[in-house]
Amino acid sequence: MPKWAMVIDLDKCTGCGACSVACKMENNVPIVDPEEAQHGRALFWMDMVTTFEGELPDTQVKHFPKPCFHCDDPPCTVVCPVGATYRNPEGIVAQIYHRCIGCRYCMAACPFTAKYFNWYEPQWLDEAHGIGNPDVSRRMTGVVEKCSFCSHRLQQIKEAADLEGRPIREEEYIPACMESCPADAIVFGDIANRDSRVSRLSRSYRVFRYGEDLGVKPKVYYLARRTGT
């Protein structure tokens, strides 16, 4: 059984924001009103977090792309009263929108604020009449949504592989963010396979994970020469 994980090389990442937009376009993530965006209700499954440290001229501005970390021991799934969010056997922490009742317990439980609530109708998609990515469902008002590691791509890739009776090839399953990263900073793959790029990179001396001390075992690894990025 593969276990999907992501490595983001912060030494390569420039913070351009292409991954955020690629993700929004791929997953039909809604765009909120300007006022709502100002209130912090903009949705970014792949967020770009910027931190400012230090003083001129040694100012350190750091960008890091932040998807859902797909924890191996996810705190969000245990609090869900209806089983709408769970960790699947391949390590993807899924959100089943039609099961979600919108209680937002999982949002409170997530230490990384990687989950987003749909406050509003996805009107822009209704009016789009089938434009937008047809492989991803529209979320309705009142459900929580989050990064899925583009699992809709996995569904199709699995089918293609099964058709030829072979296992999935490493380069086949690529989420939208990795696909469009101009700096090739994102690597995705099966971490259970020790020969995969992800697995090799996850053992790099530069590696660290957010929230490692929380014991939630995130599956998004960061690489950085400068520690504490």
Partner: protein, 168 residues
């Protein structure tokens, strides 16, 4: 506080739920042309994939439309059916036939005909019934598309019932 006021929303909920359930998934649908599957299969010797051409190649089986129909029904009617005249009218006008979709897979479900027909080798009849006996157009689902039906079959055949294998 009057107790029945508190009950108000619950009552509304109840009414709506009952209404919703009464609609059900098996509401019969009227089709623009009374298509006869039996004649096409028996007399014309067609098979399912002749018209539902993408069953083996993509997720959608595809409902045939003008282009497909007009290969046989173009200028002169080949039968005495009044329904065929309707079709020829559509062909002449070049407007697509407003077939009503009966088997409607919801937006949040990933369902692939290719996976079920080519990889799992399911017969069409398993879900769609003995279409070759149908003389009336398809108006209702043979096996209603419900999560229970999907999961039961998956259980019986030892196929994964992981949410993410179908939900998206």
């Amino acid at each position: 506080m009057k107790w029945f006021l508190r009950l108000g929303p619950v009552m509304v909920l109840l009414v709506v739920v009952v209404f919703y359930l009464s609609l059900g998934a098996n509401d019969r649908v009227a089709q623009p042309i009374a298509y006869n599957h039996k004649i096409h299969i028996e007399s014309a010797g067609l098979t399912c994939t002749d018209c539902h051409s993408s069953v083996q190649s993509s997720s959608a089986a595809s409902i045939p439309n003008l282009e497909m129909c007009s290969t046989c029904h173009s200028e002169q009617p080949i039968s005495e059916s009044a329904e065929e005249l309707k079709l020829i009218e559509f062909v002449h006008q070049g407007t697509s036939i407003p077939w009503q979709r009966v088997y409607h897979v919801p937006d949040h479900v990933f369902f692939s005909h290719r996976r079920h027909v080519v990889i799992a080798r399911l017969e069409c009849t398993t879900c769609h019934g003995n279409v070759d006996e149908f003389t009336e157009p398809v108006a209702a689902q043979f096996l209603p598309i419900t999560m229970d039906n999907c999961m039961e079959c998956h259980r019986e055949n030892n196929v994964t019932n992981d949410c993410l294998s179908c939900h998206r």
